[in-house]
């Protein structure tokens, strides 16, 4: 029977010839990981279960990134729990401060998550790796604990929804705009418990960093995975990094989808998601003048080198508007180094932006850029829920890096073209 890419990957990992939507399967896990917020609970559950070994040390990742470098004493204690566990079980993929990065930027960069694999992470944005053609999904800490012991996890096979993006992207429109546009169309539960499959000529030519941003936010539509069939762009990205062999799967042309959405995005301008939901999406050109207090450029959604390049292009030779704080956070040490070599960090600092070591910090209101009551931020992050970046009376607008940089320069939400034409 014709099958989708998600069904093929799950069938292979469940040792079956085929699987069907809504069927419960137990699948082999290729890589499982947690961070400094979710792994402590998983480690507690692991120890309570009396486990004495992990299923395979090479296939477990421990990535302190949320409140790391330690923001306070309690966070430091959680970091100790991770470090101790990694030492005790000889886990090679534990990433200490100075070697770490935001998990969903770090793991693809390190070639630890690969096409055709089943990957689970105790973090909702684990769906990022669908950009590589993997079946990757976020789970809770208890699921992670069980998978660290058994190397297996149960899934309900998700029905798939196909999204076909036609036309040609306008300047400054990237993967972030495509996914926000999609969430705006279908809503924050529009793909609940579904696999979102992104296709069409726009995706065929979309660079890997944009694909990663897109799949990263599939969870914001409630999806189990966001996935893109691997191609030459995938091969170019993966071949030089892969730590294991990998497999390309593609959906059959006559595979069965629960729904198909086909959109021509040729007229789409860069978008923002207005407070307090990722589904409140408007084109930047449509919203009234919105003064801002802070800009955050970074996160697992948009902290990659290409994102920093886009922001630097806007900020080169310009200054952050008076009264605005702009915080730039390269997502990994490698990205930080490359941004320095390319002169991007110098551009940011000359523009009077603050540049930070990698951390999830401000995205989830942890630290490194918390908002006060009444403050407004533009952020390249993924959620703008009430209180997400600080006080419950603060506001977050989600955007791509170019819009965030343009907004930092003009002190209000702005189209990148407006800055570049001055």
């Amino acid at each position: 029977m014709p099958k989708t890419i998600s069904e093929k990957i799950l069938a292979h990992h469940a040792g079956k010839s085929e699987v069907f939507p809504d069927e419960l399967v137990e699948a082999r896990v290729d890589f499982a990981f947690g961070n400094d917020i979710t792994a402590p609970l998983a480690i507690e559950a692991f120890r309570r279960a009396g486990a004495r070994k992990v299923f395979d040390p090479e296939r477990i990742g421990i990535i302190p990134d949320h409140f790391i470098p330690n923001k306070d004493i309690a966070s430091a204690a959680q970091a100790v729990a991770l470090r101790t566990f990694a030492r005790e079980f000889h886990l090679p993929w534990y990433f200490e401060v100075g070697r770490m990065g935001i998990e969903h930027a770090l793991l693809p960069e390190q070639g630890l998550v690969l096409p055709g694999e089943v990957i689970i992470g105790a973090d909702s944005h684990t769906c990022t790796y669908g950009a590589l053609g993997a079946f990757a999904t976020g789970v809770g800490s208890t699921d992670l604990a069980a998978a660290m012991i058994t190397g297996r996890i149960w899934f309900k096979v998700p029905p798939s929804i196909k999204f076909v993006f036609r036309g040609k992207r306008k300047p400054w429109v990237g993967g972030k705009d495509l996914i926000l546009y999609t969430i705006g169309k279908i809503g924050v539960d529009g793909a609940r418990y579904r696999a979102m499959e992104f296709t069409g000529e726009v995706i065929d030519s979309l660079p890997m960093s944009d694909r990663l941003s897109m799949c990263n936010m599939a969870i914001e539509a409630g999806a189990k995975v966001g996935i893109i069939a691997p191609d030459a762009i995938t091969e170019e990205y993966v071949s030089v990094r892969a730590k294991r062999p990998y497999t390309f799967y593609r959906s059959d042309p006559d595979a069965v989808y629960e729904a198909v959405h086909e959109w021509d995005i040729s007229d789409l301008e860069p978008v923002v998601a207005l407070p307090h939901s990722p589904e409140n999406v408007k084109q930047v050109t449509e919203i009234p003048e919105t003064p801002i207090d802070q800009v955050v450029i970074g996160s697992c959604t948009n902290g990659r080198l290409e994102d920093l390049r886009a922001a630097a292009e806007i900020m080169r030779g310009r200054k952050v508007a008076p009264g605005v704080r702009c915080i730039v956070i390269p997502a990994t040490q490698k990205i930080y180094m490359e941004a320095m070599e390319e002169g991007l960090i110098e551009i940011f600092i000359e523009a009077e932006a603050a540049v930070s070591t990698p951390t999830c910090g401000p995205c989830l209101g942890g630290y490194m850029g918390i908002l006060a009551a009444g403050e407004t931020a533009v952020a390249t992050t993924n959620r703008n829920f009430v209180g997400r970046m600080g006080h419950v009376e603060s506001k977050v607008y989600l955007s791509n890096p170019a819009v965030a940089a343009a907004s930092a320069i003009l002190g209000r939400i702005a189209h990148p073209g407006e800055v570049m034409s001055k």
Binding site: G140, T142, L364, V386
Partner: protein
């Protein structure tokens, strides 16, 4: 399993940042987490919720992050069951893994209000609204999830598998 309880009602898309804000995620202590339960949706909630109370909500309850601290906070606050029109998938999974009973019931979610007294039959998926004298049928709990509940949660299930393998 049967239970009676009083309802606290919330709206659609109650996200995990509202259930337990990230600023409290530097601990795994369930009592500490419970003291901030639902804080960004209703700052008074942790002070007024009583053991055995029930949360009712609209669509997509528990959307957002994968933090298991969310069902832990709800359970440790004494909430006996969450009824919603629908649940976000990671929260749904986490709730079963943690042993927090949840019921999907669009009709009930629409009719139930704060203060209503409910009688729940979890095995049958029946909700009786004693205050409104109404009865709603929730979606049956899938057989596999029932197996998890019977085992006492996911880790018990895994422990059974571990001892079977030795």
């Amino acid at each position: 399993m049967k239970m009676n309880g009083k309802v606290w009602k919330f709206g659609n898309n109650i996200d995990t940042d509202a259930i337990i804000p990230a600023r409290y995620l530097n601990t795994t202590d369930s009592k500490e987490l419970a003291s901030h339960c639902m804080e960004d949706a209703d700052p008074e909630f942790a002070g007024k919720v009583e053991p055995g109370d029930i949360i009712a909500a609209g669509r997509n309850f528990g959307c957002g992050s994968s933090r298991e601290h969310a069902p832990i906070a709800i359970k440790a606050a004494g909430v006996a069951c969450v009824i919603a029109h629908s649940f976000a998938r990671i929260f749904y999974r986490n709730a079963f893994n943690m042993g927090l009973p949840i019921l999907e019931c669009p009709e009930g979610a629409a009719r139930i209000d704060t203060g209503d007294e409910l009688e729940l039959d979890l095995d049958e998926g029946i909700i009786i609204n004693l205050s409104k004298k109404e009865k709603y049928r929730a979606q049956a709990i899938p057989p596999f999830m029932q197996k998890l509940i019977q085992a006492g949660g996911l880790m018990e299930y895994v422990r059974e598998q571990m001892s079977a393998g030795e």
